[in-house]
Symmetry: C2
Subunit: 426 residues, 2 copies
């Protein structure tokens, strides 16, 4: 149960629901409902009663633990569980210490009495509940509810930077341990593929069932198209481990060329590792800096990334990358020839030993019969002359084409640097 | 009610809930709950009964309208509303025509009988419901439920590219019109500010109430920190328009310097407009291409964007932007002096009349006592020598610092190009 009017009105995007859901999956707990409710006590209580009636063993709430009057979650959960609110004196002292520290570092004057009063509210704990130490200023709670043992509400703060560190603390409480004792943990692996349609994976899974005689239904396989790549998640319990391995091997055998990760590593992780000891220069046009942004998103990228020349105009291509104007006039700015000259220019100007160029038509305007919107030329090369050149037509709208261009370039870098599959030296 | 196991397991992010929620806000309809449920018929039906019991006038579902056996929404909604499913022969013919068209363009062999059979399912409509023509292959539904008039379930497909075009069609049905007749539309405006803490806005709203005597509670004001800017949404009904205007004016008067948008325009829109007729060159270091990506995200950016030199190494700064190595050695790569040289280099190398440079320490490593992580130097300048230079310490982690750097640079561009507030020519 995610609380907050700002979530329900779409002012902010909920990331707690999906994050908690992923944690639970790893613990072998199936999520039945995610409910987002506005900050109205009746709505909160009714949602809790609904989840109770649905037979949930575990309810997790996020948000509504602040010091102000519209932060109601703890109180509503207490009422729902039929437990009286009592002041936790020790917790009150902890919160007070945190607030004094904040007040000091912020160097502003605070009406201490008013603050302490408002924050006594945060130290009210339902009787019989376990309180979790604050990460920010709000403590979390683990509150038993319903008949019989092993049913609890975990009450967590809304800000993800507070909720996430509190999660392992909540799992270690007696209340939550009793819930976890009722399930067996799920194991999981994530495979990633590039360049294969989702429907092909469905077909392969049917073949693994029919031709290989593997009981695929005994494990959980989810396939998802994520930013241009296929992500396949296989989850299993101890007793079906052999089935999971057969599914993984069957998929890999059928899509050997397209499978680039068997251990969940992303293409960005892999390229970052492959670039160690190299020096990379980029030459970008239609990707408009997105490839550079992607490379530099990894901490420590400065060890191998020299830079990117983002060149939108002919003049910039000539001035920054030394692409002859005549070449652009003869073949067009979007052409394999200009992509090659850009990549060579990047090698030289950045004094790099590996370079990739991207030049294409992101649209919405600028397409022709011969070179439609989505036509993108890539040239990935090493200083020794090893090269991979591609010029696909990438489907989708402007932002798809821009983003996908960066993704294709990442995969070309991977292939180039891992020594698989490169075209013969030019 | 958002259906789909892939949403509940966080494989995909729900965008339908927030999107529909924003549409409803504009129509004056308050959203009480957003429920995400897995594809289990009992869970779907229980969620519908919960929403019914909560007294909802309008329930909107997304997803579960496909041709396969686990697409159950239409049937479950029919059962929930106590209406028998009947074949809509006209709809069946429409779907058949769409499928034949698909089969033709895809140029693969299709077992037509099997396809038509599977898709008869999609033409089953609860008695008394209004069917909405498919955008993809799945029709939508408007299904009356409960006692008395004016309560409906709108059943929409899951893919946003199908759901969104179907929305206006759903609003035009008799069933939905009867619901809308019970409300009065909300008007709204969005203000944006930069460089003011959220707590200051809360204080100003209290002053507007106490000092200006405006009944702020009569309108709906939501304040939200969105990617480093404050977004203030004011919503009102006809009769409280004067209050809304007083709130807007009161906020603007108190935060004149920080208010950059009164009409919802984003900084990216504004800078794109201001750049018309100019020629922009960028010199980026810690932002790693994100500023270029932001500028080129706007279609038509090639009219004014020449390029960006993303220079991570000393050598790249020297080679691409002509920043003397001695300057870097004397003052450091992150210094106002190097930022100035980078911006001047961008003006020259891109033959631009406006340039911005960004050089800073994004972390996690590289900070010192004097220049901590988050220290970023900016230099925004016109060819005529007008300049704005800043060197703030930006709070947050690596990705915050990178993104915020681009945002600050956008605001410096806005101030520079709109002629407000620039420092005197250097």
């Amino acid at each position: 149960m995610v609380t907050g009017t700002e979530v329900i009105t779409a002012r902010i995007t909920d990331i707690n629901g999906p994050w908690v859901s992923e944690q639970l999956a790893g613990l072998g707990i199936e999520v039945a409902h995610i409910i987002v409710v506005a900050d109205r006590p009746d709505d909160l209580e009714h949602a809790l009663r609904f989840l109770d009636a649905e037979g949930m063993d575990l309810i997790i709430t996020s948000g509504g633990l602040g010091p102000t009057a519209d932060d109601l979650t703890a109180e509503v959960v207490g009422r729902f569980a039929g437990r009286e609110m009592k002041l936790d004196v020790e917790m009150e002292a902890k919160i007070a210490a945190i607030l004094r520290r904040f007040a000091k570092t912020r160097a502003f004057k605070v009406d201490e009495a008013a603050v302490m009063d408002a924050n006594r509210k945060q130290a009210m704990v339902p009787e019989g509940a376990e309180a979790l130490d604050p990460v920010g200023t709000a403590p979390g709670l683990v509150v038993p509810f319903g008949d019989g043992p092993g049913r609890v509400v975990i009450v967590l703060p809304g800000p993800p930077r507070e909720l996430q560190p509190m999660w392992p603390v909540a799992l270690a409480t007696d209340g939550v341990k009793a819930v976890l004792a009722q399930t067996t943990p799920l194991h999981g692996l994530t495979m990633r593929m590039f360049g294969v349609p989702e429907s092909e994976i469905a077909k392969s899974l049917r073949e693994i069932e029919d031709d290989d005689g593997v009981d695929v239904e005994a494990v959980e396989v989810t396939t998802c198209l994520r930013r241009g790549e296929i992500e396949i998640d296989v989850r299993w319990r101890e007793e079906t481990e052999a089935v999971a391995m057969a599914v993984r091997d069957g998929l890999q055998r059928r899509h050997r060329r397209e499978t680039f990760s068997l251990d969940g590593q992303t293409i960005d992780d892999q390229v970052a590792k492959l670039l160690k000891g190299h020096r990379l220069g980029l030459a970008e046009s239609c990707s408009g800096g997105l490839m550079a942004a992607r490379i530099t998103n990894v901490p420590g990228a400065s060890d191998y990334f020299a830079g990117s020349a983002v060149t939108y105009s002919y003049e910039a291509k000539e001035e920054l990358l030394g692409v002859p104007k005549e070449l652009i006039e003869e073949f067009g700015a979007v052409s394999p020839q200009v992509a090659e000259a850009m990549a060579k220019g990047a090698l030289e100007r950045f004094d790099a030993d590996v370079a990739v160029s991207i030049t294409g038509i992101a649209g919405p305007g600028g397409g022709t019969q011969e070179k439609p919107v989505g036509y993108v030329c890539f040239n990935a090369r090493l200083a020794d002359g090893t090269v991979i050149a591609r010029d696909p037509v990438i489907p989708g709208g402007r932002s798809d084409i821009r983003e996908r261009s960066g993704l294709v370039a990442m995969h070309l870098l991977r292939i180039l640097l891992s020594g698989d599959d490169a075209d013969s030296p030019a």
